[in-house]
Amino acid sequence: MRRLLLALALVAAPVLADSDLPPAPLANTQLPDAKQEAEAKALMVTIRCLVCQGQSIADSDAELAGDMRAMVRERIAAGEKPDAIRAWLVQRYGSWVSYEPPFDRVTWALWVAPILFLVVGALIARTSFRRRRV
């Protein structure tokens, strides 16, 4: 029960663990260029908040999430590509920080599964049908 409270408290911004400084400027304001802001937003919803119980940095009130949003916006404004920023974060925190799982040695099964289900499904369907009389 305590863990539940703690978990929800992290969502609802705990009163006791705030730092002294206000949020970074670009944490809560948008980039002036709409296209860049859209790029940044699209990236932010797929980056996981490091100190939350399962939220993206775009949806979190946590301070570190705000700093990460600020970092993303700064870099996009400077011209960096979203994939490069994601790669930078994955290099530091591992695949866990990205909500989009990679396609590699340990995760290929995840991406192959949908196709596998479709194929198996089609095979099963075929057994239910009787042959079409031409």
């Binding site: 029960m1 929800l8 937003k41 949806d59 289900f117």
Partner: protein, 639 residues
């Protein structure tokens, strides 16, 4: 005293459940002396459990702090509604609600079910008793809601502020009625496997129970989504969070079951599929309960319970699901397979529907569990979120929408492709027109949203097509139900596509007096004032929103601080117009005195939940229609 009475009622209920099981086992085994007591015992068991639940509610409403659970989740400062709803805003209380609904569902079957053959009905009640015993044991030995607390504390810890919302009074009970209602279908399947009585009569008997549970599940998920949307303050309504997925998986299975049972009822086909889906649907409910309460998955919504309780639930899962699937494997071979059908037929469409729903279910299951399995086996931490689920399940869902459009227009058993094409042509044409029109007006729309909108348009037209050239007043109610439900899906998908493509977002640091434009609105930041409520204090912003030269609307988002337990939340202020919602949130004040404001214009977002409600209404129409017809024409052999 009351707590002890509640506990005693629970023990008595468990004992009666054991008696119910014993009586059924003896009867099925050949000794029919106790057959007569099964129904009364089922009803009494339900009454006792309901009494225990009622007593727990009473303890919460009265804030009896000598009960540990009340101390941890309740507080005398809370308004009546939240004291009442706090009963199930925790693990033990919601588990008791689960067991109560399980018992009441069994009693309902015992009292109301008239169409089923006697032996199968008794076997069904036996199935309910088997499930009940495990959960009674879990409740009594590992999650006692009536445990006492000495010495009695002066005040309770209070309910988490995020849960202090009417949503808590509505969302869990509806969801649980759905989850646990599926146990009836599960028990029916067990009963049918035991007595080998699987046929149209069985399907017609099972159908209302499946419909009922499915309606509640649909409502529960829709309500939960809307609650999260306005409560969490960022405008999202679905996150593919493990707990959300845990509610979606039973719904997918139940939807497939719903359609499968109709094939069984009308054409005596898909026997094995129907039995398996009935087992899978409640199995997904149980897996979901396990995931949410064992602590194996991280989620904002999870009850974090210790792994010991998780082990107990896992053991129950192995026992029930393993047992049911073993029974399935052993007996299904002896169930005579129904008639086969043509690849172009309504049955084929429903088979495709089943397969796609099951595939989507599989994807959601794999995506939810993959991080868990990967970390346990290799130590690598992974996150699987919306990018995966949308990419993997999205296309399948779109194919499903296309089949949903064609399905009701297909004839049973065998259809002519050319004639089918003629029937489907208007909807297909509309979809094509929609693709072009949307792409021209919104060139940068994503492919998934584009197809979603187009297919939703096609589905909308196709779902009302069965009413074409029919005498509307003489059309059976269940046809209306199908029309409304499918139309609801189209509406909901249109809403989802609009929200993901056309939402306008403004995050600003504003001074009092500034005006911000978002979507068609100009929002003026008028003031920030302190305010307070029964257990919180807040800073409330006054926003004046104006659309063109229309009326000025006042919105009051708040940044609240609760003191028991100390938490900060933000209360959104939403204005609902005919074509969308203006969603406003007040954030913190920056060092230079400016206030953080989050404003969204979300066109047609309400269609998401309106569609969900329509789906549930369609289900209700179908249920009423079926029950009414059964009452009026009891001799009917064809549905």
């Amino acid at each position: 005293m009351i707590a002890e009475a509640g506990l005693a009622a629970l023990w008595l209920g468990a004992a009666l459940c054991l008696l119910q099981l014993t009586a059924v086992a003896l009867t099925v085994g050949g000794k029919a002396e106790l057959a007569g007591i099964v129904r009364p015992v089922a009803v009494m068991q339900a009454a006792l459990t309901a009494l225990a639940f009622g007593l727990l509610i009473w303890l919460f409403v009265q804030v009896d702090l000598s009960v540990a659970l009340v101390f941890e989740n309740d507080s005398s400062e809370k308004p009546l509604l939240y004291r009442f709803a706090a009963t199930w805003g925790n693990h033990e209380g919601s588990m008791l609600m689960w067991v109560t609904i399980l018992g009441v569902a069994g009693a309902a079957v015992a009292l109301l079910e008239r169409k089923l053959e006697e032996r199968t009905l008794l076997a069904t009640l036996g199935g309910q008793a088997v499930i009940g015993l495990g959960f009674y044991a879990f409740l009594l030995f590992a999650s006692n809601p009536f445990a006492r607390l000495m010495p009695v504390p002066p005040e309770g810890r209070g309910l988490n502020p995020l849960l202090q919302d009417p949503g808590l009074a509505f969302h869990p009970p509806t969801l649980y009625l759905g989850y646990v209602g599926l146990s009836v279908a599960f028990s029916f399947a067990i009963g049918a496997l035991v007595t080998r009585d699987v046929g149209p009569a069985f399907a017609r008997a099972m159908r209302p129970w499946v419909l009922g549970a499915w309606i509640f599940l649909t409502l529960g998920i829709t309500a939960g989504s809307y609650w999260a949307y306005y409560e969490l303050g960022w405008g999202g309504w679905w996150f593919w969070d493990p707990v959300e997925n845990a509610s979606l998986m039973p719904w997918l299975a139940a939807t497939a079951l719903l359609h499968s049972v109709t094939v069984l009822a009308t054409r005596d086909g898909l026997r094995a599929w129907t039995l398996m889906l009935a087992v899978v649907a409640f199995s997904m409910s149980m897996v979901g309960t396990f995931l949410v309460r064992s602590g194996v998955l991280t989620s904002v919504h999870a009850f974090a319970v210790d792994p010991k309780r998780g082990s107990f639930l896992l053991a129950l899962l192995f026992l029930y699901i393993g047992g049911a699937l073993a029974l399935f494997g052993a007996r299904v071979g002896t169930v005579r397979e129904g008639a086969r059908f043509d690849p172009i037929s309504r049955e084929a469409g429903l088979v495709a529907n089943n397969l796609l729903l099951t595939a989507i279910l599989g994807i959601v299951l794999v995506g939810t569990l993959y991080p868990l399995i990967l970390e346990a086996s290799t130590g690598t931490k992974l996150s699987v979120g919306p990018p995966y689920f949308n990419t993997a399940a999205g296309p399948l869902a779109l194919i499903l929408v296309a089949i949903m459009a064609a399905g009701p227009l297909l004839r049973w058993r065998r259809d002519n492709p050319k004639l089918l094409a003629k029937r489907v042509a208007p909807a297909a044409a509309l979809a094509l027109v929609a693709v072009v029109a949307v792409k021209l007006t919104a060139p940068s729309i994503s492919i998934l949203s584009l197809l979603g909108l187009a297919l939703a348009a096609g589905l909308a037209l196709a779902s009302v097509a069965p009413l074409w050239k029919r005498n509307l007043l003489r059309t059976p109610l269940f046809v209306w139900g199908m029309v409304v439900a499918h139309l609801g899906i189209a509406v909901s998908i249109a809403g989802m596509a609009c929200d993901s493509s056309f939402t306008a977002e403004k995050l600003v640091a504003a001074r009092v007096g500034e005006t911000v434009a978002v979507g068609p609105y100009n929002v003026t930041f008028d003031a920030v004032d302190p305010t307070f409520g029964p257990s919180w204090q807040a800073l409330q912003a006054t926003l004046l929103a104006r659309r063109g030269d229309g009326d000025v609307l006042t919105l009051n988002p708040q940044a609240r601080t609760y003191w028991a337990p100390p938490t900060e939340t933000s209360e959104t202020a939403i204005h609902t117009a005919l074509d969308g919602q203006l969603y406003t949130v007040l954030g913190k004040q920056a060092a230079d005195g400016r206030w953080q404001l989050r404003l969204w214009w979300k066109p047609f977002v309400t269609l998401i939940w309106a569609g969900g409600a329509m789906v549930a209404i369609g289900g209700a129409l179908a249920l009423i229609g079926r029950l009414w017809r059964a009452r009026r024409k009891p001799q009917e052999t064809r549905a």
